[in-house]
C-alpha cells in the first residue's frame, strides 16, 4: 500500500513539475524580454547622460530637412552667459572601401567633431580630428568591416563625387544614434565636414553656459522657428528615440511570449483536469467526511496558486538567465545595441512575471476545480474510474459551425473584399483565423477519434498489436487528447503559416523582381539623385559582350505645382504601355506612369504643363500611360532630345544592361565592372545579387520566428508528456494485464510511443492544415498579386518533427509503465 502511495505521489510530483515547467518557460520568456528591454534602455540612458552633462542648451530646427544657419549660430554666440556654442554638421559623404567602391547601400554620413567642452564624440580608439583638416575618424563597426586601421589613409567622396584623402586618427562609437549606426559615420573637423558635404546649415547647435535662464535667453534670441532644449531634455529625447526600435522589438517578442503562455494555459488546464480525475476518490472521501464543495474548489485553486507562484518565481530567474545569455551573445556579435548596462530584474518585471504566471495558472485551473466539486461522495466507494464517454452534443456542433462560418466569412472578406496590403485586410484574416481556431478547439474532441484512426493507419500496421492498441488508446479520452494536441496545434499552425508566408513572399517578390529588373545588370550610385557619368554608358555600348544598354536620366520638376520626377531614356526600353501608344514618341509628348496620371487627374490625350529648369513651363500632350509596377521608365517620361532642352546635359541616373547571347556571365561582369571602375560611386548590381540579399533576409526572418515558436512547441510537448504519464497511471491494471498476456516490456513502451506519435501527428496535421490555409489568406491579404507557394517539404518536416517530439515526450512515461511490476499492479486497486 505504501508502495502505491509513494508511486502515486511520485507520479503526482512529476506531473506538477511538468506543469511548473510550462509556466516557468512562458514566464521566463516574458521576463527575459523585459530584462532585455530594460537593459538596452538603461544602456541608452547611460550613453546620453554624458551628453547631458556637457550641453547646457541645444537648439534644433523644427521639421525634417530644416537646418540652422550661420547667422543663428552667431546670434547665440553673442548672447551673455554663453561660454561656447558649436554648430553640428551632418551630411552624406561616401566612404570608399577596399574594393574601390563606395561602402554599403547608403552613403556614409559625415559628422563634424568639435573640440573643447562641447565635444560629445565618443572616441573609443585614437583621438578625434582636433583641428587637423586632413584627419578623420570612422565609426568602429565600419572600420572593422572594412579592415581599416588607425594611421591608414582613407578616401571619402565629397558632394561633387571628388575623392579626398584623410589620415584615420581615431575610431568613433556612434552610441544611440540610429542613423549613424545604420549608414556608418566618418568624422571631420567642422570646416572639413562643411567642405565635404553639401553644407546648407547646421543640424543642431549646442550651447555651453552657466547663466541662469540660459534656455529662455537662447529661445528668445533664435525665435519660434527652432526648438530649444536643456541638455537633460535633449538626452532623454535621444534615449527615447533610440529606444523606440527596441520597444517595437520587445513588443514583437512579447507576442511570442503571449503565444507561449496560451499554450502553457492549455497544458495547465489539462494537468489540473488530470489531477482532479486522478484524485476523484480522494476528493470523494473528503466529501464523505464532510468537506463542502467550496472547500474542494478552494483546495484545487490553492494548489494551482502555489504551483503558479513557485513556477513564476523560477520563471523570473530563468528569464534573467536568458536575458543575460542573450545580451552576452548580442555583445559578442557586435549588435548595434548597448548590452553592457548589466541586466536587472526590475520591480515591474517581477510584478508582471508573477502576475502573468499566477493569473494564467489559476484561471486555467478554474474549470477543473469546478468539475472537482461535482464529484459525488459515493465515488469514494467505486473501485475504478469510469471510462470517459464523450458524445458530440448538438450544442457543440452548433457553436463550432457558428465559429467556423464566422471565421471563414471574416477571412474571405480579408482576402477577397478588402484591398491587399492594407492593415485592415491582414487584421480581418487574423480575426478569421482566431475564430476558426476556436471552432477547431470546440470541435477538437469530436475530431480526435477519426483523426487518430486516419493518422494511426500506418503505425497500426507497422507496429502490430502495440500499434493498434495505441491507436485505440489515443482516441480514448477525446477531451483530454484534444486539449493535449491543440496545444501543439497552436505552435505548428504558426510555424506553417510563417513558412507559407515567407515562401509565398519569396515567390511573389522574385516574380516582381524579374518584372522590374528585366535586365542582367543595373548600374547606379547609392544616393537618391544617382549620378553615373555618361562615359560609362558610352564605353559599355561599344562592348560586344553586351546586347543592350539603356540609359535612364532623371531631374526634379513640377507639374501644376506637384513635384514629379521627370526623365528620359536612351536605348531599347520595354515600356509596358497600359493606354495610348509610344510609337513615334517625340518632342511635345509625354508618357506618364498610370499612378501619376491618376494623381494628376489626366488621361491620354490631355495636356500637362511641365515646369523645367531651362525651358520654363512647357505644355506636353499625354500620349501614353505606362504600368508603374513593371518596367523602368521614370514617372514622367519625355523624349531624349526634349529632355536635354528642358534640363541640359544631365548625367545618367542608372543604366540597365543585358548580356549578349552566348557570353559567359563572368566575362560580361568584368566588362561592366571595368567601365564602372573609374568612378567609386558607380556600383554594379545584378538581379541575382538583389535576389540573394532578399533571400537571406527572408531566411533569417524565418529562422528567428521558427526558433521563437519553438518555445510554444516545447511547452506543448510537456503537455503530451503529462497526458501520457496520466494515461500510464490510469491504465496500470491494463498494462499489467497486457504484460501477463505476453506483451513484452519493449512492446509496452512501443505502445505508448505510438500513442504519443499519434497525438503529436494529429496536433501537427491540424496545425499544418490551419497554417496552410491561413498562410495563404495572410499572403493574399498582405501582397497585391501574391503568388502562393506551399513549402511542402518544410511543412512535412514540421509534422514529422512533431511526431518525433511526441515520441520523445513519451520516453519517461513509457519507461515508467514498462518498469511497473505486474503483480503489484494486479494487487493494487
Amino acid at each position: 500500500m505504501l508502495k502505491t502511495a509513494l508511486a502515486g505521489l511520485r507520479a503526482h510530483m512529476f506531473r506538477l513539475l511538468l506543469t511548473s515547467l510550462a509556466i516557468m518557460l512562458g514566464v521566463g520568456f516574458i521576463a527575459g524580454t523585459f530584462v532585455l528591454n530594460d537593459t538596452v534602455q538603461a544602456g541608452f540612458d547611460q550613453r546620453v547622460s554624458a551628453d547631458a552633462g556637457k550641453v547646457d542648451v541645444a537648439v534644433l530646427p523644427k521639421g525634417s530637412g530644416a537646418v540652422l544657419s550661420e547667422r543663428v549660430l552667431e546670434r547665440i554666440r553673442g548672447l551673455d552667459g554663453v561660454t561656447e556654442a558649436q554648430g553640428l554638421v551632418r551630411g552624406a559623404a561616401p566612404l570608399i572601401g577596399k574594393d574601390g567602391k563606395t561602402v554599403g547601400n547608403l552613403p556614409t554620413t559625415a559628422v563634424s567633431i568639435v573640440t573643447g567642452p562641447l565635444d560629445r564624440a565618443d572616441i573609443v580608439a585614437g583621438t578625434g580630428p582636433g583641428t587637423d583638416d586632413r584627419a578623420a575618424v570612422l565609426d568602429d563597426n565600419t572600420a572593422k568591416a572594412q579592415g581599416m586601421r588607425l594611421g591608414d589613409t582613407i578616401t571619402v567622396l565629397d558632394a561633387g563625387k571628388a575623392e579626398h584623402r584623410f589620415k584615420l586618427v581615431g575610431l568613433l562609437d556612434t552610441g544611440v544614434d540610429q542613423e549613424l549606426s545604420f549608414t556608418g559615420a566618418v568624422g571631420f573637423t567642422t570646416a572639413t565636414a562643411k567642405r565635404m558635404t553639401d553644407f546648407k546649415g547646421y543640424r543642431e547647435i549646442d550651447v555651453a553656459g552657466t547663466a541662469p535662464g540660459l534656455k529662455q535667453a537662447v529661445a528668445a534670441a533664435v525665435g519660434d522657428a527652432y526648438t530649444v532644449k536643456t541638455g537633460h531634455e535633449l538626452a532623454s529625447d535621444l534615449a527615447r528615440a533610440a529606444g523606440v526600435e527596441t520597444q517595437m522589438f520587445t513588443l514583437g517578442l512579447l507576442l511570442f511570449g503571449v503565444v507561449a503562455m496560451m499554450v502553457a494555459a492549455l497544458v495547465i488546464y489539462n494537468t489540473f483536469n488530470i489531477l482532479v480525475a486522478q484524485r476523484t476518490r480522494e476528493m470523494a472521501l473528503l466529501r464523505c467526511i464532510g468537506a463542502t464543495r467550496g472547500q474542494v474548489f478552494g483546495s484545487i485553486l490553492l494548489e494551482s496558486a502555489v504551483v503558479g507562484v513557485l513556477a513564476s518565481a523560477l520563471g523570473l530567474l530563468l528569464g534573467y538567465g536568458l536575458a543575460t545569455l542573450t545580451l552576452t551573445v548580442l555583445g559578442a556579435v557586435d549588435a548595434p545595441l548597448p548590452t553592457d548596462a548589466g541586466a536587472a530584474l526590475s520591480p515591474v518585471t517581477i510584478a508582471t512575471g508573477m502576475a502573468v504566471g499566477l493569473v494564467v495558472t489559476v484561471c486555467a485551473a478554474l474549470l477543473p476545480a469546478r468539475s472537482a466539486t461535482r464529484v459525488l461522495p459515493v465515488a469514494a466507494l467505486r473501485t475504478h474510474a469510469e471510462e470517459q464517454t464523450f458524445r458530440a452534443g448538438l450544442l457543440r456542433g452548433l457553436f463550432a459551425a457558428l465559429f467556423l462560418v464566422a471565421g471563414s466569412g471574416v477571412t474571405a472578406v480579408g482576402v477577397f473584399v478588402l484591398e491587399p496590403g492594407r492593415n485592415e485586410s491582414l487584421l480581418a484574416v487574423m480575426a478569421g483565423g482566431s475564430l476558426t481556431f476556436l471552432a477547431v478547439l470546440i470541435l477538437g474532441p469530436v475530431l480526435v477519434r477519426p483523426l487518430s484512426v486516419l493518422v494511426g493507419w500506418i503505425p497500426g500496421r507497422v507496429f502490430g498489436v502495440p500499434g493498434r492498441l495505441a491507436v485505440g488508446n489515443s482516441g480514448r479520452n477525446p477531451k483530454r487528447a484534444a486539449t493535449t494536441t491543440v496545444a501543439l496545434t497552436i505552435g505548428v499552425t504558426l510555424m506553417t503559416l510563417i513558412s507559407v508566408v515567407t515562401a509565398s513572399t519569396r515567390l511573389t517578390m522574385t516574380a516582381k523582381l524579374d518584372e522590374q529588373f528585366p535586365v542582367d545588370y543595373a548600374v547606379m550610385d547609392q544616393e537618391r539623385d544617382s549620378v553615373v557619368p555618361r562615359s560609362v554608358a558610352e564605353r559599355l555600348r561599344r562592348a560586344p559582350e553586351l546586347a543592350s544598354v539603356v540609359q535612364i536620366r532623371q531631374a526634379d520638376a513640377t507639374i501644376d505645382g506637384r513635384h514629379v520626377s521627370a526623365g528620359t531614356f536612351r536605348g531599347p526600353v520595354e515600356p509596358y504601355v497600359t493606354a495610348g501608344s509610344m510609337a513615334g514618341f517625340g518632342p511635345g509628348q509625354v508618357a506618364l506612369r498610370d499612378s501619376d496620371a491618376e494623381r494628376l487627374g489626366v488621361q491620354v490625350g490631355d495636356s500637362v504643363r511641365l515646369r523645367t529648369e531651362r525651358a520654363g513651363t512647357v505644355p506636353l500632350k499625354v500620349v501614353a500611360l505606362v504600368d508603374g509596377n513593371q518596367g523602368t521608365l521614370p514617372s514622367v517620361t519625355v523624349a531624349e532630345a526634349a529632355f536635354e532642352t528642358y534640363f541640359g546635359a544631365v548625367p545618367d541616373a542608372r543604366l540597365m544592361i543585358r548580356i549578349a547571347d552566348g557570353v559567359p556571365r563572368e566575362r560580361a561582369r568584368e566588362v561592366v565592372d571595368a567601365a564602372a571602375a573609374p568612378y567609386p560611386n558607380v556600383k554594379v548590381s545584378s538581379a541575382a545579387e538583389t535576389r540573394g540579399q532578399f533571400d537571406e533576409t527572408l531566411d533569417m526572418l524565418l529562422m528567428i520566428i521558427t526558433g521563437l515558436l519553438g518555445l510554444a512547441i516545447l511547452i506543448s510537448l510537456l503537455g503530451i508528456a503529462n497526458t501520457l504519464s496520466l494515461s500510464v497511471h490510469e491504465r496500470t491494471r491494463e498494462s499489467a494485464l497486457l504484460r501477463a498476456l505476453g506483451l513484452t516490456r519493449r512492446q509496452l513502451r512501443a505502445m505508448l510511443s505510438v500513442e504519443a506519435l499519434v497525438l503529436g501527428l494529429i496536433g501537427a496535421l491540424v496545425g499544418a492544415v490551419l497554417g496552410g490555409v491561413f498562410g495563404w489568406a495572410a499572403i493574399m491579404a498582405m501582397l497585391d498579386g501574391a503568388l502562393l507557394s506551399l513549402p511542402v517539404g518544410q511543412i512535412a518536416l514540421f509534422v514529422a518533427l512533431s511526431g518525433v517530439a511526441g515520441v520523445l515526450a513519451a520516453v519517461l512515461p513509457a519507461r515508467r509503465a514498462a518498469r511497473a511490476s505486474i503483480t503489484g499492479a494486479l494487487a493494487a486497486g
Binding site: L469, N473, A740, L741, L743
Partner: protein
C-alpha cells in the same frame, strides 16, 4: 473424475520448495514457505485458503508473473526459475492463459478482439474451429462485437475464459474468477471451466476462497500461512467447508 487425474502421469506444473519473502527486516513477510505441489495435466485444481494465506502469490509464481525467493517451478519441461523477464513474457504468451478477478478485458477492444488478443500478441493464427466451438460453448456468439462496458460481469468473465482457451495454453491460471459475480453468473463461468477441462482436456489452476467454486474442481489444495497443509480429491461444497473450518481452528 478420479480416473482423469490418474490417467495423465506427467504433471503440468510442479513447484518444489517454493518460497517467497516480501520486504526486509521487521517488515519481512513469508508469503510462501517451501511449498511443494504438482498440478496434473488435464485436471481442474483449486487452491484454497484464508485471506492472506498466499494463494495469489503462489499462482503468480507458478505463472511466471513473479519470481520466487527460492525453490523452483517447472512448467512442463521448462524451469521458470532463472528465466529473464523477456523469456518469461514469451513463455506466458505461448503457454499460459489467465483469468483474473476483474479488469480482465481491454475496454477499447470488442469481445472478439479481446478473445483474439493473445494470439495476435503471439502473432499466431487462430484455430477457427476451436474459436467457433469455444464461442458457442460460452454462449457469446451474438456478443462478439460488443465492448466490455456493454457486457455483464458474467459475460465479461466468460469472454476472459474464452480468451484463455483460444490459445490452447498448457495451463490456465484463474485468480478468483467468480469473486465479483453473483452466484448464477459464477455458476455459469465455473461450469464452463469444468466443461473445458472435460471436453478440451484443458489444465486449469484456480484460486478461490469460495467452497462452492472449489467444488467444481477435481482436486483442492489448501494453504495456510504460506504452507500447503492439506488437499481434497473430488470435493463437494460441504467437504471443502469442513476442511476450511478444521484449518481455521
Amino acid at each position: 473424475m478420479v480416473t482423469l487425474t490418474e490417467r495423465r502421469t506427467a504433471p503440468a506444473v510442479v513447484a518444489t520448495d517454493l518460497t517467497k519473502v516480501y520486504g526486509q527486516g521487521d517488515a519481512r513477510v513469508h508469503a510462501l514457505r517451501a511449498v511443494n505441489v504438482a498440478f496434473a495435466t488435464g485436471a481442474f485444481t483449486a487452491i484454497m485458503g484464508p485471506s492472506g494465506s498466499g494463494k495469489s502469490t503462489l499462482m503468480h509464481c507458478l505463472a511466471g508473473l513473479d519470481t520466487a525467493t527460492s525453490g523452483t517451478v517447472h512448467l512442463g519441461d521448462v524451469e521458470l526459475t532463472g528465466l529473464s523477464d523477456r523469456q518469461l513474457t514469451l513463455l506466458r504468451r505461448e503457454r499460459i492463459g489467465f483469468v483474473f478477478q476483474a479488469f480482465n478485458l481491454l475496454p477499447t477492444l470488442t469481445a472478439e478482439q479481446n478473445i483474439r488478443l493473445p494470439l495476435e500478441i503471439a502473432a499466431r493464427q487462430a484455430d477457427q474451429a476451436l474459436f467457433d466451438r469455444v464461442i458457442s460453448t460460452v454462449g457469446l456468439t451474438d456478443r462478439l462485437s460488443h465492448r466490455p462496458t456493454e457486457l455483464s460481469g458474467g459475460q465479461q468473465q466468460r469472454v476472459a475464459v474464452a480468451r484463455a482457451l483460444i490459445s490452447k495454453p498448457q495451463v490456465i491460471f484463474a485468480d478468483e474468477p467468480t469473486g465479483n459475480l453473483d452466484s448464477r453468473s459464477g455458476a455459469e463461468v465455473l461450469s464452463f471451466l469444468r466443461v473445458s477441462v472435460r471436453e478440451l482436456g484443458q489444465t486449469i489452476v484456480m484460486v478461490t476462497h469460495d467452497p462452492v467454486a472449489a467444488s467444481y474442481a477435481d482436486r483442492v489444495v489448501f494453504l495456510r500461512d504460506g504452507e500447503l497443509v492439506t488437499e481434497l480429491a473430488t470435493p463437494t461444497p460441504q467437504s471443502v467447508l469442513d476442511t476450511l473450518v478444521k484449518l481455521e481452528a
